[in-house]
Symmetry: C2
Subunit: 467 residues, 2 copies
């Protein structure tokens, strides 16, 4: 390998990328390919991602892709995101496509088949052996986001009567992918899972011992219809490299490996983050920002904004009902944005911590009272500090009277405490009724907290200014 | 295993938990222990987490913990979060503690030593063999959040001249943990990493072949001071189960396994989510919500709120300068919260997508123009739709004149477009100057968008209402 690649892989890749772009410009395809082949498959895939971005050089990029050694082309394909895979599918021959699909790991195969148009899938399946075709069809039918959609049927089965020696020979014979070989599974005659043996156990165990004597029966498994979020929780909890997936009769149907879980965790986090910002991904797609159309973006962002429009009608009504009094002391208006904004911000701080805590299993709905008591105290301290700042501001900076300062500051204190209570309790309530706190909490908090902030403010104005 | 445990592990655990609490109440410690031992180590740890929550039953919980078989007690300890580990440390004898520490995997050992008070660490290190003590001290000195703090020195080294048979015998002799045995590392005489061999390759390869002929030299490694976020990016990109860590002379100093990366990913996501909600974790701690004091919570949440206080001074000044005109048409006030709120919400939608896109490497600062063009169009469409709704509301629901409706609606359109531009461009700008967009973007967007929203609104009022 080039020394620069070892020392600073990113700089090396950037340099190569420039070279490749030049070579493509000059149609020196073979040299571009050779430059790519200096890297490992995942890096080559990353470079193709960049090459495939520009529609103008799509054709030339495909030429280089087709010049890759066959084994590399399959690996690179498996690393690409699905929209780039589709771009390549469009550019290669049916024969090349069939080869790639045939060589892909089973789980990658399912992923691309799910994305391809139905007629192309049919064409590919025609050429697939009958047994595999049946298996593919079963896998294609598992709903998205369940354990079944993540698993692969490529696992190693051992018989419980076998010796370790026989088992090792079997592994040599079937010779699988690194990621799926490290745990072997033992089934009874009814295909029910009865135990697991790790490859490391096999390696260090005397070769005459029987599988049934060394297999672990206290394994953890997931159901094929379990939600992928729960599956990733199990991986985090137990620290396994792979987990068996069983159907409701406890028959082993596949395994999930940890490398696919990394993506699931990021996906679930992205979903939570977007939902907390009021973005709903209707298509539940893993499409990247730039690949989504303007309309998709509008569709994902508009609902929350529209719901809040309704809430603002009420906010408007509260102000209107106070209008006559407000025009008497018009300077009160200038503090409205601060009070409402601070209420919203401080409420969403509390909500964020609770929503994340719920997702990480750090807090539970049964902790409600402890959380409430904590947030009331936090709100009190923060409210006092912000009030002190504002007293100074209203009196000295703005030159308003002490009664106005008292109105603003007491409103601030109550608003902050109230927003902390609201922000922490609404997620727990939403969780209690089995909805997703990330989805519901923020719109609910924004709309309620604005209205309450105004009501508190005007109530304080009534108390201190006699309005 | 109990059939219920296999069928519905969570229900079984909840049932056992109730039983254990009763048994603890009655001081039936041995029976409580036996109930726990029905489960695997990770589950037992989860139950201890719950048991350790209540200070009143702490003493009894520790008694049960001390009754666990030694091997189980070590495993359970390694699964517990650090604050629960400390509770146990306080309750057991020094001898028991020394045993646990000695038996822990090296990376878990470092984690707990980092948490223990210095005098206790010294006491433990005294009893540690000299070589290991030196290694522990080196590891304790790696900064938090770097590759060095995640790695373990427990990896398998092979000599390049060895045959596969010799290598397999070596693995049998040293017999390591499952998670660290699956990739073996080949070093030259200067301890420099020259290649890797996976256990699966060893198993399927003819036993007479030499390591140097079958090892892969196109491995990927990380530097010991690399940030943990970059390390987790590499794991996601390459899908490895373990990665070698080298120092700047390219000498192998340890390996990182994927199970530790799952936690890193969640930690980094939590940090991003909290920062986006204006919460700064000063201590960079992984403390859970309920374990943090009121003061820590205040300290983490106050800075952003205070910065915004300053921003609200400007917002207030804009309103004050318009006060006289505002009091002429007081109904304009009732639309202020809606316009400012919508600006903030729609801006943070755009910011969230861009911040997440940057974190996931889906967008780059060089995409700025494409993003800008997309957001302008999205803002235009959303702005138009919201304006249409509001025209109806202002005219019919509120009964205000068409000129006021025109003021509100044109302001809405411009505010939404502007907020989308602001929300998408500020994260890119922050990224460009090498700061963390999650940390800076939202406060900046909130403060600017409020001021601009008001300015646009008053400008429209000047145009349409002649104010």
């Amino acid at each position: 390998m080039d020394p620069l690649i070892l020392l600073d892989p990113e700089a090396a890749m950037a340099e190569s990328m420039e070279k490749i772009l030049e070579l493509l410009e000059e149609k020196k395809y073979f040299m571009a390919r050779d430059e790519l082949l200096k890297y490992n498959d995942a890096d080559i895939a990353e470079m193709f991602e960049e090459l495939l971005e520009e529609p103008e050089r799509l054709e030339r990029t495909i030429v280089v892709y087709r010049l890759l050694p066959k084994a590399v082309s399959v690996e690179v394909f498996s690393y690409l995101p699905s929209d780039d895979q589709l771009k390549i599918v469009d550019g290669i021959t049916d024969k090349e496509l069939s080869y790639i699909i045939a060589e892909l790991d089973f789980d990658d195969k399912i992923d691309i088949l799910e994305e391809l148009p139905a007629n192309l899938v049919d064409k590919i399946l025609e050429k697939t052996p009958k047994d595999e075709r049946r298996l593919i069809n079963t896998f294609l039918n598992y709903p998205d986001n369940c354990a079944g959609s993540l698993m692969t049927p490529d696992y190693i089965s051992l018989e419980k009567e076998w010796t370790v020696e026989r088992a090792m020979q079997h592994i040599k014979d079937v010779g699988m992918d690194a990621e799926t070989v490290y745990t072997c599974y033992v089934k009874d005659t009814g295909r029910k899972l009865i135990g697991i043996v790790s490859l490391s156990t096999l390696v260090v165990t005397d070769s005459n011992r029987r599988i049934m004597d060394i297999m672990r029966t206290d394994y953890v498994c997931v159901n094929v219809y379990d939600d992928q979020e729960d599956v990733s929780e199990d991986f985090k909890k137990y620290g396994f490299l792979a987990m068996p997936v069983v159907d409701k009769e406890h028959r082993l149907v596949g395994i999930i490996t940890v490398d696919d879980i990394l993506d699931v965790i990021e996906e679930e986090n992205t979903e939570d983050i977007e939902r907390m910002a009021g973005i709903i991904d209707w298509e539940d797609s893993d499409k990247e920002y730039l690949d989504m159309s303007v309309w998709q973006h509008v569709l994902n962002r508009l609902p929350w904004l529209l719901i809040l429009m309704v809430a603002y009608v009420f906010t408007g009504m509260i102000i209107t009902s106070f209008e006559a009094k407000l025009s008497q002391i018009i300077c009160l208006v200038s503090y409205m944005p601060m009070l409402m904004g601070t209420g919203g911000n401080t409420g969403s701080q509390a909500a964020t911590l609770i929503i994340r805590g719920l997702a990480m299993d750090e807090v539970e709905t049964s902790d409600a009272l402890r959380i409430l008591w904590k947030e009331v105290r936090i709100g009190f301290v923060i409210g006092l500090i912000l009030s002190a700042f504002n007293f100074a501001r209203v009196c000295w900076l703005d030159g308003n009277g002490p009664m106005i300062a008292l109105t603003v500051c007491s409103a601030m204190l109550f608003i902050v405490i109230f927003a902390k209570i609201l922000g922490s309790m609404i997620p727990l309530l939403v969780k209690k009724v089995k909805l997703d706190p990330a989805l519901i909490a923020n719109p609910a908090i924004s709309s309620i907290s604005d209205a309450v902030a105004l009501s508190i403010y005007f109530a304080m104005a009534a108390v201190f200014l006699g309005l």
